[in-house]
């Protein structure tokens, strides 16, 4: 399966998903007007990945900030990872990275950690 590589822009994060290593990385800023359109290829990739996942899947999210429509899309990504984890075909873990003293991003990570049923770690950069 091909990797999913999307370059970051001023409004969208960089995406680097590798099926071989089972590493998923979202980095940068996510403030597109139409988030669903931007994340559509990400959902599609994850759906295909879920058919033949790596034994361990590690997702790293390192966002500077994001708009509220992206917050919903991120949750949808976590939901997909949640069902993959539940299916026991891959052991999924999430690391949410935030800059030291960035309370907003720490809280955002904490929001997801309470909503999503996955091993979810908050980590200072």
């Amino acid at each position: 399966m091909n990797s999913l590589v999307m370059e970051g822009t001023a409004k969208t994060p960089s995406i680097l998903f590798s099926a071989d290593s089972g590493t998923l990385e979202i980095k940068g800023r996510s403030i597109p007007e139409n988030s669903f359109e931007f994340y559509q290829p990400v959902y599609e990739w994850l759906d295909s990945y879920a058919l033949k996942p790596s034994a361990v899947t590690s997702a790293t999210i390192q966002l500077e900030y994001f708009n509220t429509s992206s917050s919903k899309c991120l949750l949808d990504i976590f939901r997909k990872l949640e069902s993959l984890h539940k299916s026991e075909r891959s052991e999924v873990n999430v690391v949410w990275m935030y800059e030291e003293d960035d309370e907003d991003m720490m809280e955002a990570g904490d929001d997801y950690r309470t909503i999503v049923l996955l091993p979810f770690e908050l980590k200072k950069i």
Partner: protein, 181 residues
Amino acid sequence: MISVYELYKQTKADEIILSFRGSVTEDFMASVFLIMESKLEGDPPQQRLRKKVNNILVECLQNVYHHMDEFGSEERPDDQRSAIFLVCRDSDNRYSIITGNHILNTNVDGLKNKIDKVNAMTGEELKEYYREALGNSELSAKGGAGLGMIEMARKSGNRIEYRFDPVNDRLSFFSLIVKID
């Protein structure tokens, strides 16, 4: 004639970092975010505050942008897409983001209730409410998740100030101020 002296005194106390009146488009917003990004310099506490300002600014502007899709061909083009917005900083380093735009009269009550509801909440209540709304929300056709007002109140830590001025039997002018300190 307006008092220029009053204006002078006012603008001295409240530095206007950015002001705009015109059509809010995707390209325009991209330019604004770029300009604001370039103002992110300064020491770390400053940077964090400005990052918060940028984050809330994105929410405010995209809010205005998404509202514009409610309009039909009945409205004058200027009323549909035109908006005003300002980013100000006072001498105590408190920021204000001000937006003004037209909305349909039929949406006034819903919006008012939404803002009143978040304004009545404590920080802890806002956190709970946000999590609940995030877990349950569906994206609207244009990408709004209905979480904007909650986020603005939560991140700014202040009440959202607003006002509706009747324009005609279809439209009102919606003014919003979010203060960040």
